[in-house]
């Protein structure tokens, strides 16, 4: 499992933010999660000891605070147009929007498994240890998520 000792404070925060984003799929919620987890760990240990502990804290906070809310997000078309027009590379941004939409159709546990596996490079065993799920469940989540995304990509 990757360790935080080689990461700077900012890299660790960015990494935590990406994980929080994978869970919430919402920028501000992810920022709030990261901030709360960071402060909580500092309050308890005066530092963020490992990346794994940071991720676990973010995850626990997410389960406590966000998942129970069952919030529904509305994304306006205007904001997407603004997002596209603000970028010079419409094709790249178009892909991002498409990925964004596809990911929004996945469950949070599916996004989490995909993120940890593809982006963070965690093995199924490591993801199982972090999330407390059986390895078989983790493998199944990764497989099904990829399949769902592929199907969504084909449909588009």
């Amino acid at each position: 499992m990757p360790v935080s000792s080689s990461l700077s404070e900012e890299e660790l925060l960015q990494s935590g933010f990406r994980y929080a984003y994978a869970l919430t799929h919402h920028h501000h919620d992810a920022e709030d999660l990261v901030q709360t987890a960071w402060l909580k760990l500092h309050q308890r240990y005066s530092e963020v000891k490992t990346k794994a502990l940071f991720f676990t804290t973010i995850r626990n906070l997410y389960i406590d605070q966000y998942r129970r809310r069952k919030r529904v997000w509305f994304t306006t078309l205007t904001s997407k147009h603004e997002y596209l027009s603000a970028s010079g590379d419409a094709a790249v941004e178009g892909t991002k929007v498409a990925i964004d939409q596809m990911l929004s159709k996945l469950r949070d546990i599916e996004r989490e498994a995909l993120f940890l596996h593809i982006v963070e490079g965690y093995s199924a065993n490591e993801i199982a240890a972090l999330t407390g799920r059986p390895r078989g469940t983790v493998l199944s989540l990764i497989h099904r998520s990829k399949k769902k995304l592929a199907a969504l990509e084909t449909a588009d």
Binding site: A30, L39, L103, K146, L149
Partner: protein, 188 residues
């Protein structure tokens, strides 16, 4: 599938927390650290102050109640003694004149003590080392003998708590009036 994985990787790698947010988080940590340092310094100090106040209060109460208890016990003990009176008279002036060493008035200021009791006589005694008048009074109706103690309020007894106390079957009432301290005991 590899392409999709690459796109996912790029997508998440592009997600970044704003630098001003990072600054805000780091500032919050510093602020929290300051608060914790202040708290860690203040909590033991507050505890020490409270402990000192508590001990002081306990000692004050303990000393006061102990002194009152000593005075009540002493008055009760003296009441049970049946030593000879220096002078026997139902006149306060006569007894006052006989107890010439006393530089205060032995006549009680409480009206009922004069109205309901008859003076029998008096002698010298001490309460907590201070010279006092010990007067025997007879209740007019019941004929029960009471003992009245009168002495100036000195440092030795200034912290005695006025009130009505029971000691070994005796009832002892303590009170002050202007510059004098009074104790009245009765019972067997």
């Amino acid at each position: 599938m590899k392409k999709l994985e690459q796109e996912l990787n790029n997508y998440y790698r592009s997600k970044r927390i704003a630098s001003d947010k990072i600054t805000a988080i780091q500032a919050s940590v510093h602020e929290m650290g300051g608060t914790r340092r202040r708290s860690s310094y203040l909590i033991p100090l507050a505890a020490a102050i409270l402990l000192t106040i508590g001990i002081g209060l306990w000692m004050h109460i303990s000393t006061d109640s102990s002194l009152t208890h000593q005075v009540v016990t002493e008055i009760g003990h003296n009441h049970r003694q049946h030593g000879a009176l220096v002078v026997k008279s139902d006149q306060y002036d006569v007894v006052q004149a006989a107890l010439s060493e006393l530089d205060f008035s032995i006549r009680p200021r409480r009206g009922e003590l004069v109205r309901d009791f008859v003076l029998v006589g008096g002698k010298y005694c001490t309460i907590q080392g201070s010279q006092a008048a010990q007067l025997k009074l007879s209740h007019r109706k019941s004929q029960i003998i009471y003992t009245l103690y009168v002495l100036p309020i000195a440092d030795d007894i200034k912290d005695v708590e006025p009130g009505i106390y029971e000691t070994n079957g005796l009832q002892v009432e303590l009170w002050t009036d202007q510059f004098l301290f009074y104790g009245l005991a009765h019972g067997q």
